[in-house]
């Protein structure tokens, strides 16, 4: 075995045998599912019922207010306003709706008050505005001699049918699935880079603090050690990702068969058959169909490539930083500039890519090597031309080679330096030794 292979093997085994790796790999998917279930459970819980006191001097509107799960209305039109206001202050009721008596519907529309201690829920206010507004409008129709029933009858509702060029039926919210898939992959890649980059850094620091470093580099070149460490750790990352992908895919298969979606039907069958199939599908089935329609193979392969490229790029920085410092606390000042482009990538992904996946900003940042792994992964579910992926990958791996060359120079000097917290200037000086 060559020395590099020996180092890769050791680093890989050291990571994989670690208890936290095993726990992370098998527990975190469970944790994700658990959190999902928990959030779902929370949203189904009935909220506490809040009572709104209504003082309706006209007597026309209270009967229009319908109790909901969250809000109940109580008629207090006979009690004077001042007492009601006091009871609001003493928090007996959530809020007080005051509808004064006005001759003119237009002046009434402007003089309705809602009084509460806390700023009110936006939804309840717009509900009230809608209900009362509709009623006032109808009154005005009537007073102007318009037939309200006729108007109701003539009102037409438009629902645009969303279809794909391929002719499949689609429903609103499918873009949403692409967004989630893109977001998840982009976020995952950032998480992997930070997580595994940190592992590289910690492992470099460990070799420094345990003082084994000089023993090792009397046998191998520092560059070999650094590369072996980076590669070995990345293999552990890839293994973890493969396990997750396998778990995810099998979960998808199981869920799909539960909902009765034909897996793989889309690619193989004729357009007509697909159209026939999709006509009979429920929305849930359509969602699943759409998930299977995502370029899953492209996503997985490009995840690997961008993870390797992005991770190699960033972990060379991490390795250089690990070599430069004596302990993890000292690494903070150097880590910030590394984390920043990653955060930038995620922000651009969530704010720009989702609105305009093929716009200039999204395209440019999916080319710049420091952000491309995240931004491009978020774009891929929306369909990215191959040439863009190729250019961005070439740029990424080209930059990686430059950065490794630079980082290895700092690493080489840093691993033998003890007891000194270097400045940026010194790091630059080291690179020239």
């Amino acid at each position: 075995m060559s020395k590099l292979t020996l180092i890769i093997r050791r680093e890989f085994l050291a990571k994989v045998r670690n208890k936290s790796f095993i726990v992370m790999t098998f527990l975190s998917p469970l944790l994700f599912v658990g959190i999902g279930v928990f959030v779902g459970f929370l949203s189904t819980m009935k909220p506490e019922v809040k009572t709104i006191a209504v003082h309706d001097e006209t007597g026309n509107y209270f009967k229009l207010l319908k109790n909901s799960d969250e809000y109940h209305y109580t008629d207090f039109s006979l009690i004077d306003v001042k007492t009601l206001k006091d009871s609001i202050i003493s928090e007996a009721y959530e809020g007080l709706l005051l509808i004064p008596k006005k001759a003119n519907p237009d002046s009434l529309a402007k003089s309705i008050d809602y009084i509460s201690n806390d700023s009110p829920d936006f939804d309840i206010i717009s509900d009230l505005e809608k209900t009362i507004g509709q009623s006032i409008t109808q009154q005005k129709y009537a007073s102007n001699g318009l037939d309200t029933l006729k108007i109701k009858e003539l009102k037409s509702m438009v629902a645009i049918n969303i279809k794909k060029a391929s002719g499949e039926k689609s429903i609103q919210g499918l873009n949403w699935i692409k967004t989630i898939a893109g977001g998840a992959f982009g976020y995952l890649i950032m998480m992997f880079i930070v997580l595994y980059g940190n592992m590289v850094m910690r492992s470099v620091i460990e070799e420094k603090t345990s003082r084994i470093i000089e023993v090792i580099i009397s046998s191998v070149k520092p560059f070999q050690l650094m590369m072996g460490k980076i590669i070995g750790t990345s293999l552990a990352g890839i293994l973890q990702f493969l396990i997750w992908a396998l778990l995810g895919l099998s979960a998808m298969f199981i869920l799909s068969s539960v909902f009765g979606v034909q897996v793989g039907a889309t690619g193989a069958q004729s357009q007509q058959a697909m159209e026939m199939a999709s006509k009979n599908m429920s929305n849930v089935q359509l969602y699943f169909q759409e998930i299977w329609n995502l370029p899953i193979a492209t996503l997985l392969v490009s995840f690997m490539l961008y993870f390797i490229g992005g991770y190699f790029l960033y972990s060379s920085f991490y390795a250089a930083i690990g070599a430069a410092v004596d302990n993890e606390t000292d690494s903070q000042q150097f880590l910030l500039p590394i984390i920043l482009p990653l955060i930038l990538g995620v922000y651009i992904g969530f704010f720009t890519v989702i609105n305009d996946p093929h716009g200039t900003i999204a395209t440019v940042f999916s080319m710049i090597p420091l952000t491309s792994p995240i931004v491009m992964m978020m774009r891929i579910p929306f369909g990215v031309p191959l040439w863009q992926i190729v250019i961005s990958l070439v740029l990424l791996f080209g930059t990686f080679i430059l950065v490794v060359w630079f980082a290895s120079k700092i690493y080489r000097v840093g691993i033998l330096m003890y007891g000194k917290k270097p400045s940026w200037k010194e790091l630059y000086k080291w690179s020239k030794f």
Binding site: L6, A14, S210, I212, E214, V215, S218, S219, K429
Partner: protein
């Protein structure tokens, strides 16, 4: 012919090695010749340049200029397996098991897994530490870990052993054990470079020494030759006499006197006498006329004396 003869008998030759870090010169045209089979003491105060030199020999760093020959061959990557190096700043992976770790480090030195296992068994039996194979380093005491460190250093049977402060961290029993192992390896033909501040171990073990100070080599040679060079022609004398004043009068006329102390059963007068240009016999003649001589020994400079004298000058 003679050059060739010498050439073949040096395990290591360092020729005019220069190493600078920015503006700082760590080694200034340093040349050393380390004979095959010797135990060679590399001495010098902290920051003299010893570690820089040792790192260059181990190919951890490259010299700016100069040449190094190992066993007559220009130093190259194949030589890594001919050198065993125990750095001053040393350690092992704390969470790795002893056996696995030793195998890994031996394989990095170029040993096959099979050979490494065989050698490891030999050493574990020899040091009676067979039970440690599956223990993690963090479960061992510091002294136990140091033993493992020594095994790792010598496992691949290097021709040249470079030990930087080898006894630091060892208790006296283990230090002695390791010292005996080093001497045994030396007897079997391993050359040893020994960098230390503990002068008594240099005195005890080394046959050659070199002293580096402020990036320059100041002294090099056989220990006995160096000592001869640094002898001051001073003798320690013990004498029983009734007439101390007369004796002192005679002595101060010819020699320089100073006080000294040595172990003795008699209650004699103890003196250190610098002979200047006179011979020992002249001193003896003066002494025997005044009393009974109980002690007469040339004062040999210790390595410690030489070290301090050279460095403070």
């Amino acid at each position: 012919m003679e050059f060739n003869y010498l050439f073949m008998n040096n395990i290591l030759e360092v020729k005019n090695v220069v190493k600078t870090y920015g503006d700082f010169t760590a080694l200034n045209e340093v040349s050393l010749t380390i004979p095959k089979g010797s135990i060679y003491g590399l001495l010098g105060p902290n920051g003299a340049g010893k570690t820089s030199l040792i790192r260059i020999i181990n190919q951890i760093t490259l010299p700016d200029s100069g040449e190094i020959l190992l066993d007559g061959e220009k130093l190259n990557l194949n030589h890594i397996q001919n050198i065993g190096y125990m750095p001053e700043e040393r350690g092992l992976y704390k969470t790795m098991k002893v056996g696995e770790q030793c195998l890994y480090l031996a394989q990095l030195k170029g040993l096959s897994k099979l050979d490494a296992t065989k050698e490891l068994k030999y050493w574990f039996e020899r040091l009676e530490i067979q039970g440690w194979w599956n223990k993690k380093i963090q479960e061992l005491s510091k002294g136990m870990a140091q033993k493992i460190q020594f095994v790792v250093t010598v496992l691949h049977k290097p021709k040249l052993l470079i030990l930087d402060e080898p006894f630091s961290g060892f208790d006296p029993v283990n230090a002695n054990l390791i010292k005996d192992e080093i001497i045994e390896l030396n007897k079997q033909g391993t050359s040893v470079i020994f960098s230390t501040h503990r002068m008594e171990s240099v005195e005890e073990m080394c046959d050659h020494i070199a002293l580096i100070h402020k990036s320059n080599k100041l002294i090099e040679g056989k220990l006995s030759d160096v000592k001869k060079e640094y002898r001051t022609n001073t003798y320690e004398v013990g004498i029983l006499t009734d007439n101390v004043e007369g004796l002192m009068f005679d002595l101060t006329q010819k020699f320089t006197l100073s006080q000294t102390d040595f172990k003795s059963l008699n209650d004699e007068l103890k003196l250190a006498i610098n002979l200047g240009n006179a011979t020992p016999n002249e001193l003896l003649n003066t002494l025997v006329q005044r009393g009974q001589v109980t002690h007469f020994v040339e004062k040999i400079p210790s390595v410690n004396d030489i070290f301090i004298k050279t460095v403070t000058e």
